[in-house]
Amino acid sequence: MRPSRSVVALAVGAAALLLLASSPLRRIMPVIRYGVDGPSMEPTYRQGDRVVVNRLAYAGRRPVAGDVVVFRDPDDASRHLIKRVAAAPGADGSVFVLGDNPAASKDSRVFGPVPRERIVGKAMFKY
């Protein structure tokens, strides 16, 4: 069976991703690998899950409710957090984020909306 265009595109994308992610230029690469640490995004992402994050996802558009995003912790910029966008961005582009496991999550209920510039990218897929 001839592979569909989307499958070919995915394969090419995956190959490019593998090359880029291992190159010395990875600091400026459009995708980053993350390991999830903590229970606040269960059941979507569990402790130890790996996820690929697209840094260019919001270059031309705004986050929408339902997106899972990685962003710099408003309380500690050196830490990156992973949460889900719960509400469409406000006028200033900031988003309200929640953990999928709200009983065990530090999120916008604690630190308020996350400014657009703090968002690193959108979680694309788990591997």
Partner: protein, 169 residues
Amino acid sequence: MSRSILRTIVSGGLRALDRARQPATAHAHCDIPCGIYDPHLMQIAALTVVRMNQLIEALGDDAAKTKASLSRYILVKEEHAELAKREARVIWGDYFKPEHLEKYPDLHQVTWDIMKLGGKSKQEINAQAAADLLAATQKFAEIFWDSKGVATKKAPSNQAVGGEIVVPA
């Protein structure tokens, strides 16, 4: 090539990359309210298991009454053995860090003992297992408070069950 095969290949490649170079960390912690940890509840749960064994042991011969009471005691024993296990798991998994393990090399063993003794206490009517479970939770509490630089003492429970719990001195 099907999507699932492709996904397997991509995942395998990315996992191989991860082994070569660790991925960044995306924190999904529950710093609030989980910044508060206390081994008190775990010990109370273990004491409850001890107490249920005592009450089961003391049941009389009145069949109807005994059946109802026994059911209740077993239920409470079951729930509290599980609670002790859960409390230990949360503190062990969320609070303790690798550097703690270096200082308290038997931390894993103590936690494992709580899991096993909790399980045994659920499966059986076993006063010794309950007493051992309580002792393991006391040891866990001593490690926990010591890791925070807090001295501890064993204080009487002052309950019908007797026994002691580890509390900050």
